[in-house]
Symmetry: C2
Subunit: 343 residues, 2 copies
């Protein structure tokens, strides 16, 4: 076990004080008017012997860990995985580490994770909040921590936030289906009061109302496992044979729905049933027919989130006024939403 070097070892070898080394290492050489020569020698030795400051000591002393906590709903969902990857990349470039985890949209779990992050002394929090964590987030903000919410808002919490125009996205998707001749369009979503879900429902409803069509909504409990979800969707569709199109509120519900749909009647069901899903997904490119999706601008979301966070982190007091950034979605038209009669 190679003994860990300390700053005192460096200082001793060069016959200078610890302070001097510390200043140089922290880029304060100029400011403290330390000779260029000495600065160079210190840096050279540090490099040679591979000295690395003890981060724990640094953090204990400065109160900063250079770490950002990132909590997404589910890191194995490509939508969140992508955003996480992009955020991490930027953060690293700026000298921040990211520690991330999945909330699984579980209130208790999320509270624990927030508490864990506090214990770890992360410098900032990026969160896709489930329901029921309003108070915890308010507390975070009240305690002066930089907080950026992503993907969804939290009512009554004045936090920086990056979301997409969910209402418009769902509205456009629905309108698209109507334009292609579909008339009995169902909306299959989960039983969540999260802002993004509520807004999608509103967009769907609005489009139908404008066209004097009737809304048919199935809310599947979020906690249902794959099998239960499929079952639920099955009986819903069974009982409403006249439905001619489905808009799924989110990709994982759509994936379950597709499993179901491809089983009912592998050959012709997809042909008869119009399909659109919120959130794109790899599977959609493989399904027959390929599935139309409301794609979210993951890159833009990630960029705005990390920019906001870095700004807050740069601030002395995180007193910037809370800013909500709303990004547009785009409709990726594939084969599952062609004109009804054309199929």
């Amino acid at each position: 076990m190679k003994k860990k070097l300390q700053i005192s070892d460096i200082a001793k070898q060069l016959n200078v004080s610890i302070t001097t080394v510390s200043f140089i290492l922290n880029g304060k050489a100029k400011e403290k008017r330390i000779s260029d020569d000495l600065t160079a020698r210190v840096l050279k030795l540090v490099e040679e012997v591979g000295y690395r400051p003890n981060q724990l000591a640094q953090s204990l002393r400065t109160g900063k860990t250079k770490t950002i906590g990132l909590m997404v709903e589910d890191i194995s969902n490509p939508f969140f995985a992508n955003i996480a990857r992009l955020i991490e990349e930027r953060a690293h470039k700026e000298g921040y580490k990211i520690v991330y985890c999945s909330t699984e949209d579980d209130t208790e779990r999320t509270k624990e994770l927030i508490s864990m992050f506090r214990d770890m002394h992360v410098d900032g929090y990026i969160i896709t909040p489930p329901e029921g964590v309003e108070e915890d987030i308010k507390k975070l903000i009240a305690d002066g921590f930089p907080v950026v919410l992503a993907d969804r808002q939290v009512a009554g919490v004045d936090a920086h936030c990056v979301i997409v125009d969910n209402l418009l996205g769902a509205y456009n998707a629905t309108t698209h289906l109507i334009e292609r001749g579909y008339q009995r369009i169902a909306f299959i979503t989960i039983d969540s009061k999260q802002s993004q879900m509520v807004q999608r429902l509103e967009g769907y409803t609005k489009a139908l109302e404008e066209n004097d069509l009737e809304a048919v909504v199935l809310e599947v409990p979020y906690r249902y496992d794959a099998k239960q979800m499929i079952q639920s969707i099955t009986s819903f569709l069974e009982e409403r044979k006249n439905i001619d199109a489905v808009l799924f509120a989110t990709n994982y519900v759509a994936v379950r729905g597709l499993e179901e749909i491809s089983q009912i009647s592998p050959a012709d069901a997809p042909a008869k049933l119009g399909l659109v899903s919120y959130d794109d997904h790899d599977v959609f490119k493989f399904f027959k027919p390929t599935v139309t999706a409301v794609a979210q601008p993951t890159e833009a979301i990630a960029n705005h989130v990390i920019n906001l966070m870095l700004n807050l982190l740069g601030q002395k007091n995180s007193t910037l006024k809370a800013e909500t950034i709303i990004l547009p979605t785009s409709l990726v038209v594939r084969n599952s939403s062609l004109h009804k009669t054309k199929v």
Copy 2:
């Protein structure tokens, strides 16, 4: 900003010394024969005021962070995402935090991540190593850190390791295709010398040799993006029209391959071409025909990995003899590998 409580605040309020509180908090009350009454009072106050010890200070003092570093190839690949989730769950129960990240099989990136983990003072390392990190891992072990390798071995490194029987898995998959009447079976893999890939190739080759069939291998550069990969697979298949089955060495190559195959001739190509992929994937259930896969026992892998790690962590000296655990795979037979003539 609520002021953070310290251990001294607790001590003061109860008129006892810091030491006493510390002992009690660390479960040494009995050992130090502190009165049950006092113990109870301290615990009660701690609970009431919500005191939480400063982990940074604790770690600095004890040299332990109760954190395990987990580096997988790609956290957004369901295979790794699953393993990571299971490991994290167990680790939490044992009081450990997991900080994870993706190596993307990039040597330099991995070295940096190892170095980052060292800086963070993680207590143990779980790694799916890319090529070229032998020395870094040896160093970790030499320096006395608990290290567990997963999914692949590293030649010349005597580390604890959990893998599957890749040779047998590929052998069985190939034999399965042969039994169903396929004769010109290609193996599409990536140009990696990682143990698991080499072993899969060996299994494929062995099965062919035993049946006097000829091996036809395409090695796609790992660095290729989706488009390049597809292109590479396209020309390979174009030039070898007589191929009647393909064994993909890993799921993401298979996904690219399927994109290609479904495009060449959406209708009949899949029917004529036998398909099996190493690693299961959601997409395989949706493809027409559904794709046969060599499934890895993710749960067992995760369990063995975390058990090994916890054992090492419990040890005073990590001098346990390095142990390699080899788990069996299973063949999930779907429609893409039915008997050739039956299709």
